[in-house]
Every structure is written in structure tokens, then in C-alpha cells.
Amino acid sequence: MKLRRVSDVEWEIAATGSMRVPGRIFASEALLVKAEADRATSQVANVAHLPGIVGASMAMPDIHWGYGFPIGGVAATDIAEGGVVSPGGVGFDICCGVRLLSSRFTAAEFGHRSQAVMGELDRRIPRGLGAGSVAAGRLLGDVLERGAAAVLDAGYGWVSDLDRCEEGGTSAGADPGAVSARAKERGVGQLGSLGGGNHFLEIQVVDRIEDEAAADAFGLKAGMVTVMIHCGSRGLGHQTCTDALKVMGPAMQRHGISVPDRQLAAVPVDSREGQHYLGAMAAAANFAWANRHVLAHEARQAFAAAFDIAPEDLGMTLVYDVAHNLAKVERHLISGRLRDLCVHRKGATRAFGPGHPVLTADLAEVGQPVLVPGSMGTASWVLAGSAANPAFGSAAHGAGRLMSRKAAARRQHGRGVRSELEQRGIAVRPGSVKLLAEEAPYAYKDVDAVVEVCDRAELARPVARLVPLGVVKG
């Protein structure tokens, strides 16, 4: 794949063959070399074939090989020009995302109660296979309709949480009737569960502030203990994507669309199949918003029990909750004209800058918080959206994998990974020891390097760096 250097943090793949637009990758040379070593760059080119795509098929600095879309892929299609929606551009874990809570505690204060907190979390946070759930399945119908608002009304979390959640924790246009019975069967026992893979609940401390004004607006300060939760829509979302992909194969032929990879199957946003998928996707997203809301409630309960303090006195307010696997209809200025686009972010975080109309008043001056979790045992970042964002208001979503799971597991046993983390003062509560080996810090790229590119490419600007104190893994 031939790449042309646009700047030291931007590369272009020329539109050749039936590519409709060029590819554009935001990466340093070092990060790009890693992306080229696998097939991620050719996946950027494949996405450029989608009907209605505008601007470029883009990739964030944490780009790596996915299935269909690259992980870190961003693609916007113009709905009025026959633009398509591709379930593969959202992924199986619909509305997978990250939620960050602040607290009143310092690392030293947490240290005195860390065993109690980790024990409470270990007991309260269902994770891994067949783990059960926090919230009752009878809430499912309301959750698919209303997302976090449904579990709030059932007694989980605080009203103020909704203000600090992308979409207010409720995706518009949800159509619970478009979610299959099979998907609902899978979701009914999983509301309030972490899942496995790279999902986690982490206790972190703010190790550095890069932008005082933004940190203040977000409710963060140096030395503060925080809780970061990374998970999504569980089996309900996985089944919703599976169902859509099955239908879209033949539907694509009816619409005369061909794509280079079956996993990129897509239909016009305005088609019956497109609207059906977007309704089901929004309902699955509502499950994910509610899922993280319930888990945050449990984290507060865990701290309250461990510190013997009422939950409302913990200072554990929501910094932000943002998705990184979603397709959304958004209005963007393209060639001097406002156009309604279907923006796919597959492993990319929405990152709206200061003044964006969807931001609440308290965030309007500084921009939207962008949560970038690092790998287990390494730093995570809070960024702020940039008004000059060149990627349809998108930024990186994590460190990005560097090593395959197989290679990481070969390098060191999970027991060794756990021991190294504990020697560094990081408490670990794994669901599976093998998973620890696969998710070891060296299996991922350097998150600081990813954030530096976000900053230099004006995708988002650094606000605060967080380092881990405790990890609960699936």
C-alpha cells in the first residue's frame, strides 16, 4: 500500500481503482510502521469503496487490523447522495465505550482501603463468561427504549450523570422492535456486566494535568483518584450486528452495491434495511449506556462500603461517558455546505470541539471530554475535542494493539504479568489468568505516542494523564 506523507502526522492513500475517496491516516512514522505491518492500511483503502463516502476514509493514530473496517476507522457518508450505513463500521460491540468517574480521594487515601475496595469490586462487578448481571432483566424493554434514563428511574445512579453522557445516555431513534428476540434473550441476563476481552474497570489516579481550564471544567485535578469503566452492549449488541450482517449480504445485491470485503456489507441509510439497522443499533446503544451507568452505580456502592461513607459523599461524579463504536447521523460542513452525514466510528471516539451545538453549557468553552484508555497497567488519557478537528469530530479510542493475542500469550504467562503489575503497586482482579497474558501492557502501542499525534493533528488536545492503581478484568 503506497502512502504519501502529507505532514509528520498525516498520510494519504491515493484513490485508485474503484476507491471513491482517498484514505487518510493520522499517525507518526513509528505508529504508521506498526499499522503497515498488519493489514490495517489496506482496510482503510477498502472502506473508501463505500457508496456516498465523503472526504476520505480516515484512521486514527491507534489504527490496527480489524475485520472489515480497521480499528480506529472513521467513515462519513452523505445521506442525500445515497450514502450507506455499514454495521461492520460500528462493529459487534455496539456503543462500546468508556465512562470516567471522579472522586474525593487521593492515591494515599485509596491505598489505605485498596484491599477493601478491590474486594468489593471483585464481588460486585460481574465479568467474563456466564457471570450474571447487576440489574434485573425485566428492565430490558425500557432500557432499549430509553437507555441510561431507564436504569436511573429504576434506582441506579444520579440524575446529574445524564448531563455528562454522550447523547444524554439515550440514543435517539431507538426501535426496540427491530432488535431480534434472540438478541433480547442474550441481553436479558447481562444488564450490568463487564464482559471480557479488553474490557475493564480500573481505579486510576490523575498523574498530570496538561490543560488546567479544561480539567477544571471536567472536574479533574492532579492527585485525584478516578474510576474508568470500559464495556459495551454485551451479547445483545453482538447479536444485533450479527443479525444485520446476515440481512445485508443479499440486500446489498438488491441495491446494486459491491464492497471488497463481505464484512463491509452496507445499504443506503434511507433504505428500509438501513433504517431497520439504525433503529436496532440505537436500541443496542441504549443497552450499552445503561450497562455502563449500572456498573458506575456499583463502583460507587463498592467505594461507599469500603470507606463506610454514603455514596453521595464520595465525590464520584461523572466526568463523561463516550462511545467509540457507533454510527450517527450528524451535520457537518463539507465544501462550504452543511450536509447530513452518517458518521461511522469503529474504534474511534467522538471528539467535538468548543462551541459545538450539542455540548452542554459547562463544556461549551473547553470542548467535549475524550476518553482514551491505555492498556492494562499503563496510562490512560482525558483529552478535549478540538474545534479544528479534521476527522468529522473524531479522535483515538485507545492505545491500539501491537501484538497478536497469541504472540502476547507466548511471551509471558498471565501469572508473571500479574506479579509484575502487583510489584508496581497495581492491584489486579482478573477473571482469567490467560487473559492477563493476552492483555499485557507490551501487547499494545504506547498510548502517550497516540495522544501526542492526536494533539499535533488537532484531533483532540491533552487534558489529564491517569495511571492505574487497580484493575478489574473480564
Binding site: 475485520y67 472489515g68 459487534f92 434473550e185 450479527t242
Partner: protein
């Protein structure tokens, strides 16, 4: 029936996810071996003792799509029943439909050694006839 101590598949390296390649004298073997390979990513199936049995069915346009459909159905049923399927026997297979008898063990009776498989993808999917029968390649979202 695919199971026991042998490993009738090869794990493929993928940066974020995982995949398998399987071979078989017949399409039946390929589907059963792929099912074994998928769940063996999560649990050491050689250590499982089956306790429950059920049948799954799938239909699709061609043998490759049928593999995705069948494995996806297995994942969904296993999650709903809270079991890990560990023995697989094809009851009937055509190019567009399959029925598989499954023996499984409750999920809380097994030691997990890998992350759960979220879903079966179409990326790099292949089911083809080879000199020795059939072979297939399928990638999973982890």
C-alpha cells in the same frame, strides 16, 4: 464427533482478534472442527465433561455463509443456556443448511483460559474444497 484431546484446528494470528483454520474429509468434519476450535479458544475442551445436549440449526446461501451462521447460532445458544459446547456431531449438512447435535457443560463448571468470543466475522472467510477434502478459515471478534 469432534472433541476429545486432539486439536482439530490451527489458530491464526490476528492483531486484535483471533481466527482458526480447519480441515476435514467432508463438510461435516469442517463444521464440527470449526465449532470445536471456536470454543477451544475460550475453554480447554479436552477437560470438559458434557452434561446437557441440544441441537442447533442454520441456513444460509452457501457453505461459507453457512459456517458463519452455524457458529453464530452456537455462540448465541451457548450464551443463553449458559453452557460451553464441547462435543459436536453433524446430523445433516447440505450446501445451504446444517443441523448439529451438541453436548455441553455448564459454564460455571469449566476453567476459562481465554476471553469470550463475541462474534463470528465474514472477514477473510473461506470454505473451499481441497485435495484432502474441505478446508475453512474463519475469524472471530474477541
Amino acid at each position: 464427533m469432534s472433541g476429545g484431546s486432539r486439536r482439530p484446528y490451527r489458530t491464526l494470528s490476528h492483531t486484535a482478534d483471533t481466527g482458526i483454520e480447519v480441515e476435514g474429509a467432508t463438510l461435516d468434519d469442517v463444521y464440527a472442527n470449526a465449532a470445536f476450535g471456536m470454543f477451544d479458544q475460550v475453554v480447554d475442551l479436552s477437560s470438559c465433561t458434557p452434561e446437557v445436549e441440544f441441537t442447533v440449526r442454520a441456513e444460509a446461501a452457501d457453505p461459507a455463509e453457512l459456517l458463519v451462521e452455524l457458529l453464530g447460532e452456537l455462540l448465541a445458544v451457548a450464551e443463553i443456556r449458559r453452557v460451553i459446547p464441547c462435543r459436536f456431531e453433524m446430523r445433516q449438512v447440505t450446501d445451504t443448511s446444517a443441523e448439529m447435535d451438541v453436548a455441553a457443560t455448564p459454564v460455571d463448571r469449566v476453567q476459562h483460559h481465554g476471553p469470550p468470543v463475541k462474534a463470528v466475522t465474514y472477514h477473510d472467510l473461506e470454505v473451499i474444497q481441497s485435495d484432502r477434502g474441505w478446508k475453512a478459515r474463519v475469524l472471530f471478534d474477541i
